[in-house]
Symmetry: none
Subunit: 205 residues, 4 copies
DNA sequence: TATGAATGAGAGTTCATTCAT
DNA sequence: TATGAATGAACTCTCATTCAT
């Protein structure tokens, strides 16, 4: 009863790891099958092709991530709250689900248009358009004189990278500063604080 | 004499694009050969293996990037100058050489330790250790009460992502806000301004 | 009671088309199942293997065709009647059941011995041996001075191809003459006439 | 020097046999490679895909056959000569190159339009259009009162099947008459004679 | 240096067939 | 009878790499 759907799901779970680790080109169907404990042919039975499996996972990943962001936006009553909440939600999520961010990273590098279209596709099924919601909110905050950055594009581009890259970028920083960062809960909390402070001091009026 | 070396160089130029577009696993030796107008076997004659060619390019890319950063650090006499210079240098560089940043992105996702070791390797050949230099400068600035973030790790992690991701991340922002960003010189200048403002307001005391 | 057998029959009907279109090697069990609206496993339940299904259909096809020929022979009281009847019966039959002739064509090319043995098998269950009957008749006609071709082999080989190929061969003729043949009832009637005339003028004395 | 091109040619020779024996769907690339004494990959190196190899062979077969027919037409000064020459040329050719006729047979059954288009393609590169030539000749012969069949379509359909099927059809006749035909030179000569007689008596005026 | 041919391991995919229910 | 899941062998095709020249 529980076992029934498990093959199809297991493939998904294992494939996410494989694709995150090796990319679409480097991933091996056989490895996925072996690790999922499933006959190789079942992957094609359920997902038709490696490419398609990849697409399904990309979509699933975004489908998991996007609503998280949206909720954070909706919930935040002031830009202050927004600058506090967003880094917290994001970084906690990503530090647990590194595979998801890796896949999005790959896709951003290799096929950015695809990401755009998948996200738009996801949004199109949500009644109150998140883009509209967000642009609205920012515009109101700016008119009320609460924030210093009027352009939503730059506002978002001042936030997102800090969240996403705080996990992926650490090795580069380790090299630049010749130190070793221990990926503890403490470090993550400090990271969140530092970002929130930067955003609040930098963009609140 | 000029023609002699051109094959070897052309392979390098073309391979950078190939690896940036498809990653190590997805890149095809034959495609590189064809686009370089070179016999496939020559790639192995010069670079012995696909992997090795990849490594050479990664190293070359970092070898081009790292000194740029170092110079910016050395040149900046105050944190204000630093927050002005770094985004300018980086983003101008990356918006022209997207392939380089894509390769570094791939590597950060797939084999972060490799990046670390290559960078360390590069630094070890520079007399005045850049990591030392940078940590020193930040420490002095903090002690003088010029900046609000005492930890070099967080300070760097507050800067780097904004620079790197400002190029790669735009498609995601386009989707989130349902707009089209035109990648003009104007946009880039605005981006640099917005980041510099954020950094100065957010981390200068 | 009616529904019960319909699956088994439907498979047969659909499989004939599939085999005629793609041959044994090119036919796909899944395609047959889908088009028959039947679960793939049922094909094996009823016919145990693809090969066997093929054999069943070959036999069924010949079992439908052979008696038609035999009857024509028996019915014909003179060679003139024979040369009139045979093309008519054959070509009318084949122009409606192209799949049957295609299957026989495939088999003639790929496994001629199989056809021979199946036909012999069919004949062995008919009391008055058709081969004997036919050879007898021809021999008598020849002795009576009615026909010019004494050898039954050549006589048959002067008739059969004209009947079978009149349908299959048209595309080749279209190409050779650079015209388009419309497969109307008129064309078929003309074809039959032309063949009967040829045979009668060519082999009656 | 002679060995040089032999791989590419050898594949062609062996593949013809394989396709003739098993059809496109049943043919095995590995078998072709083994029998040609060639690495499997070389087949794709030279011919890109199994399908394409098949197409190349079909075209090559027709390219060998078509000119033979054309020459026979051109050479024949009277319908009598024509009815003598065509069966002789054809049947001698086919009895030696059974694979060619088998391939054409397969194609006629499976993808008749393809044959049509390939033949047209071949014709389009011949200066004096064979279709025109043939139609002309037949029309003149008919106007001169030399032949009884005015329609070139039926005239050709009265000849071609007899030539082609005289080889392929023998097993069917063996079964129908319950005899064994020995495929000797004598049999072939008799076959040619019988056909020529049939055609001359049947269609000459 | 340069080339076209060759190689071998293995990749993704297919497919007839079987199993459990 | 009927089904969806599973299997395993085989298939076509790919690709990094090497060889002979």
């Amino acid at each position: 009863m529980k076992k029934k759907q498990s093959s199809k799901q297991k493939i998904l779970r294992v494939a996410l790891k494989e694709f995150a680790a090796y990319g679409l080109g480097g991933a091996r169907v056989e490895r996925i099958a072996r690790q999922a404990g499933v006959n190789k042919a079942m992957i094609f039975y359920y997902y038709s092709s490696k490419q398609n499996l990849y697409r399904v996972i990309i979509k699933k990943s975004l489908l998991e991530l996007i609503p998280k962001i949206q909720e954070t936006i909706v919930v935040s009553k002031s830009p202050e709250q927004f600058f506090d909440n967003l880094p917290k939600v994001y970084i906690h999520y990503f530090s647990q689900k590194q595979e998801v961010i890796k896949m999005i990273g790959f896709e951003l590098i290799q096929d950015p248009d695809n990401i755009t279209s998948v996200v738009r596709d996801i949004f199109s099924n949500i009644p109150e358009s998140p883009p509209g919601l967000l642009k609205n909110k920012i515009s109101i905050w700016y008119k009320k004189g609460l924030i210093s950055e009027p352009d939503p594009v730059h506002l978002i581009l001042n936030i997102l990278p800090l969240c996403i890259f705080s996990i992926l970028g650490t090795p580069l920083v380790e090299a630049i500063l010749d130190i070793k960062i221990k990926n503890s809960g403490d470090f993550i909390d400090n990271r969140i604080n530092s970002i929130s402070n930067l955003l609040k001091r930098g963009m609140l009026k």
